[in-house]
């Protein structure tokens, strides 16, 4: 990603060495929790990137760093080629957060229950697009409610959150984001709290937003099947680092990292042959506190070698656009750890 020749191919958003550490413990036992370590992520124009991993792997921290809720410990985020750290004024920050809004996981607690659902949209418009008149704001709110499939928009806008179902509320979340004319929506597990039968509608909405509204989406999830349904690229996180990244079909068809294989083996699939796998992993992702060098997956990995215990595997490009952080993974064959 260096050299002026590549400037034209600058992605919409790119992070370089993005790191977030939290100090934990009291004054006597200063420990450092590594929530995000040296992450290089990029999201292209009109692209859905799925960020997948278990609870505690740092996915949501990345979303909060990108949303400027947290300040990175080190590293840089470039949006449309410009570093975020150079952004100082309130106006610049407001402009950025309008371009990169967030949709939250829990549709029951992320909308203010005492206001009508139009409130959040209209307020966002007033703040981020002050040039609009009252009538224009209302018209824009109508438009976004319609786009996200809440119809009749004029009627739904007048309702209170408790009068809507979980799926409808999550659509309100997307309407709020969409009203700001975003370039990139940070969607933090937007469907995990919804019924399976409603999820597919929201996944379809995300694809529709990409195709007709030209929005990119960072889709944070632990469900690889839904990621495959919507996303163009897949980034797998493990213990604050990227384990594997690449075009989604390619990564899922040829998962090189043992952790990706573990995640894949856990997806319930009624079409798979009957039988309960005996070799099911019972481990949990580690909390990364004051880590020592070595692969962070080594304790759960059946293929771990001596090297894995002493040297942190770098992210290497094993195949075109497909990067893997594993000493054991090879370019020419899938080394199976879990199936």
């Amino acid at each position: 990603m260096t050299g002026p020749l590549l400037a034209a191919a600058e992605p919409l958003l790119r992070t370089e060495g993005l790191t977030k550490h939290f100090k934990i413990g009291n004054a006597l036992s200063q420990q450092v929790l590594h929530a995000v370590d040296d992450v290089g992520l990029s999201v292209g124009e009109r692209q859905i990137v799925a960020l997948a991993g278990e609870s505690g792997s740092g996915k949501s921290t990345i979303a909060r760093l990108l949303a400027k809720i947290y300040k990175p410990t080190s590293g840089e985020i470039y949006f449309q080629g410009k570093p975020l750290s150079s952004m100082r004024s309130r106006a610049d920050t407001l402009h950025y957060t309008g371009l990169v809004p967030m949709v939250f996981q829990d549709p029951f607690s992320s909308i203010n229950p005492v206001f009508r659902v139009s409130h959040g949209v209209l307020r966002g418009l007033k703040l981020h697009r002050p040039e609009l008149s009252r009538q224009q704001r209302y018209a824009e709110a109508l438009r976004v409610f319609d786009v996200v499939g809440l119809s009749p928009a004029a009627e739904v806008m007048q309702r209170y959150p408790h009068e809507l179902s979980g799926g409808q509320r999550q659509r309100v979340g997307f309407a709020q984001a969409l009203a700001l004319r975003p370039r990139l929506i940070l969607a933090d597990e937007p469907v995990s709290m919804l019924d399976v039968s409603i999820r597919i509608g929201l996944l379809n909405l995300m694809v529709q937003l990409r195709d007709s509204e030209d929005v990119s989406i960072l889709y944070i999830t632990h469900d690889l099947a839904s990621a495959r349904y919507v996303a163009d690229r897949l980034v797998i996180m493990y213990a604050a680092q990227i384990a594997e990244a690449g075009p989604i079909e390619e990564v899922l068809a040829n998962p090189r990292h043992p952790y990706t294989q573990l995640l894949l083996s856990a997806v319930p699939d009624p079409k798979a042959p009957l039988g309960v796998g005996a070799e099911t992993d019972k481990g949990e992702p580690p909390k990364v506190i004051d880590p020592t060098p070595g692969c962070r997956f080594r304790w759960r990995c059946p293929l771990a070698t001596g090297e894995c215990h002493s040297v942190t595997p770098p992210l290497r490009e094993l195949l075109p656009a497909h990067t893997v952080a594993c000493h054991v993974a090879r370019a020419d064959a899938v080394t199976e750890a879990f199936r």
Partner: protein, 334 residues
């Protein structure tokens, strides 16, 4: 129902025509409408359906945990030969936890945040007459080990455990007296896929070892596909389809079952557009006159709007859909 691997012997649980109503000023809502099911020792039954289809109300009705305005208005719940409906709290207390335990959806809310796991296990045992300190300590450590948690966590508080460990400790608690039946209300819905998978495998292993029967409620049909012997699909308070799990997955009869199976994307095979099930379940205060699924049904017929379907037997499966009227035996319900 003659399915499942362990169908010998008398049923552990026999629910017949159970109805539960929420009685309110504006009229009553029938949340569970004449549901029947039978469970043999060691059988695993999955109950699936969308939010608001009555599956949790059914569970609460079986466990006699309903609180006003909900009440049982008909039917019986025969557990180990005893009709649970109408028992006093004292009579129920003797059965609960010893013979029948319940694992709730959110372990964070079901566990007491200010008491250690060990203290909560002790509570349950003392309530059932186990008072010797060393017996309590032994059994507590034993059940935690059964679910794969190190007994040092007896001194841990719920917030110190991960979501998966909290759910495991709930299951450990349910196993204290090795009950005949464990009722689980979406125990894995707050977990991510890896923890979910390992918990399901754990439940299945424990079940094979100790032989308890399981009622497992979920909205995610794919989750139970490999674990349940029997599957019951509920829609709008009624049984839509019930039968052997593999048969149901192999060839779903009810359009709603087929719709649920089409609602989740697959990790394998070609990528294709899915539509889910358009619309939402009906308001149970004013259910549709004919088939309750008719307004959302892709295979709707003219008579569906007016004729409520019964449960029709097709092979080993019972299905509530007019397409199967006359295909086999007529239904037992009007």
């Amino acid at each position: 129902m003659p399915t499942g691997p362990a169908s010998s012997g008398p049923a552990v649980l026999e629910v017949s025509d159970l109805s539960v109503e929420y009685v309110m000023d504006a009229g009553s809502v029938v949340a569970v409408d004449r549901v029947s099911l039978a469970l043999s020792p060691g059988e695993f039954i999955g109950i699936v359906g969308e939010s608001g289809c009555g599956k949790s109300t059914l569970l609460f009705g079986i466990a006699q945990l309903l609180a006003p305005p909900a009440r049982i208005t008909g039917g019986s719940v025969v557990f180990n030969g005893q009709n649970m409906v109408g028992l006093t709290d004292k009579q129920l207390a003797a059965v609960r936890w010893k013979d029948l335990s319940v694992v709730m959806q959110s372990a964070m809310n079901a566990l007491n945040p200010v008491k250690s796991i060990g203290a909560q296990l002790k509570d349950a045992m003392r309530a059932h007459g186990v008072t010797e300190a060393d017996r309590i300590a032994d059994r507590s450590a034993q059940v935690l080990q059964m679910v794969g948690i190190d007994p040092v966590h007896l001194r841990s508080y719920p917030h110190q455990l991960s979501g998966g460990m909290r759910q495991r400790s709930m299951i450990a608690m349910a196993m204290l007296f090795t009950p005949d039946l464990i009722i689980m209300d979406e125990p894995t819905s707050a977990l991510d896929v890896v923890a979910q998978r390992s918990l399901m495998v754990q439940i299945k292993e424990l079940q094979q070892e100790f032989g308890f029967a399981v009622i497992f409620v979920t909205h995610d049909m794919s989750l139970v596909s490999h674990f349940s012997d029997h599957l019951m699909v509920m829609y709008a308070g009624q049984v839509a389809e019930t039968g052997d799990t593999r048969a149901l997955f192999g060839s779903p009869l009810h359009p709603y079952t087929a719709g649920l199976m089409e609602a989740f994307p697959s990790i394998r095979g070609p990528r294709r557009q899915l539509s889910g099930i358009p619309g939402s379940p009906p308001d149970l205060a004013r259910p549709p006159e004919g088939c309750r699924f008719a307004p959302r049904c892709p295979q709707v017929m003219p008579q569906c709007a007016t004729t409520p379907p019964g449960l029709y037997q097709v092979g080993g499966t019972d299905v509530r859909c007019l397409q199967y009227d006359g295909a086999g035996n007529a239904g037992s319900l009007p």
